[in-house]
């Protein structure tokens, strides 16, 4: 029962953190003010650079 209660409260706690996290990500892409194609291109190039040094799971 106590476990249930603490789990319940923890979930409540994360509602706000989830909102903040999602906002941060969405504002990150909003604020860069790049055209969507340019943004995708940048992401692709960054990925390519990282791939040169590290192994990346393509599906992730």
């Amino acid at each position: 029962m106590l476990d249930f209660i603490t789990r319940f409260f923890r979930r409540e706690e994360s509602s706000k953190s989830l909102a903040k996290e999602r906002l941060r990500l969405v504002l990150l892409s909003d604020r860069v003010a790049l055209a969507p194609e340019a943004f995708d291109e940048m992401k692709g190039e960054m990925l390519a650079v990282i791939r040169r040094y590290l192994e990346i799971d393509e599906r992730a």
Binding site: E12, S15, K16, A19, K20, R24, V26, L27, D30, R31
Partner: protein
């Protein structure tokens, strides 16, 4: 020269019109001459929120197009004689309003009134640009929700650099913030990085006030009304601290307070 302040948000339904009506009322109450301008052409609502809908005859576009004088279009509040409404046209579109003419009209109003409060439409299109055109200051209204904060961020970026912008966080529910369900005011300010001019709690009085067409400021004991009054005083340059949010005390809170069990009983309550 009076101050021209646009009330804007990006997202619809966060409380721009209610904020405009209540700040206008609060400033008039403080003895200032005020005109509230409905810039939401085609979807006017400020008249209804102020309970002045039956007295609207001419509107903003009539004035701009020279079909009516400013005095014909202005509706004067019956209770607070220094409060005036310049209604929007309901049967026209936002694109019908030339931006230059709008800015010129706001200047004319600023020569006559201490405060010109412009109720901006939602969106980032011409209606918004027109509402901002004549303004030197902005009040950005948001709520502690992802969509509202995102749109506020966008709007802040679209405000001209010489416009002095401040933030109102509206519809805060203290009980939910305390539980961690809702983002707090600090969370929102952290993200938007704008000077906070007020925090407005959500409560049922606002619904009653809107239904009646009276400003919530007039409803006795309303925390929402008190918050708007404080914001009006801050606009006048008074230093009024933003009190910590107070939860409405229910039956159990009172029992707990009596028994000395709740935090409320330890002197944390403020008003």
């Amino acid at each position: 020269m009076g101050r021209t302040i646009v009330i804007t948000s990006g997202k619809g339904g966060v409380g721009k019109t209610t904020t405009t009506a209540n700040l206008g009322t609060g400033l008039a109450e403080a003895g200032k001459s005020v005109v509230v301008v409905d810039a939401d052409v085609g979807l006017r609502n400020l008249d209804v929120v102020l309970g002045l809908e039956n007295r609207v005859s001419k509107h903003l576009l009539d004035v701009i197009e020279g079909k009516a004088s400013l005095d014909d279009a202005l509706v004067r509040d019956r209770v607070r004689r220094s409060l005036h409404l310049l209604p929007a046209a309901q049967n026209r579109e936002k694109d019908d309003v030339p931006t230059d003419a709008m800015a010129a009209l706001m200047n004319t109003l600023a020569e006559r009134f201490d405060f010109v409060l412009i109720d901006s439409p939602a969106g980032i299109e011409k209606g918004f640009r027109n509402a901002v055109a004549g303004a030197k200051e902005a009040i950005v209204v948001t709520t502690p929700e992802v969509s509202a904060v995102r749109d506020a961020d966008r709007i802040i970026g679209l405000l001209p650099p010489d416009v002095d912008a401040r933030l109102i966080v509206n519809r805060v529910r203290p009980a939910l913030v305390k539980k961690g369900t809702m983002m707090s005011v600090n969370d929102v300010v952290d993200i938007l990085r704008l000077e906070l001019i007020g925090v407005v709690p959500d409560e049922k009085e606002i619904i009653i006030a809107t239904n009646r067409g009276t400003p919530v400021i007039d409803i006795e004991g309303s925390e929402t009304g008190a918050a708007f009054k404080r914001i009006a005083r801050r606009l006048l340059g008074e230093s009024v601290p933003i009190p910590p949010l107070q939860e409405r005390t229910g039956f159990f809170d009172r029992v707990k307070a009596t028994l000395g069990l709740s935090r409320a009983s330890q002197g944390q309550r403020t008003s």
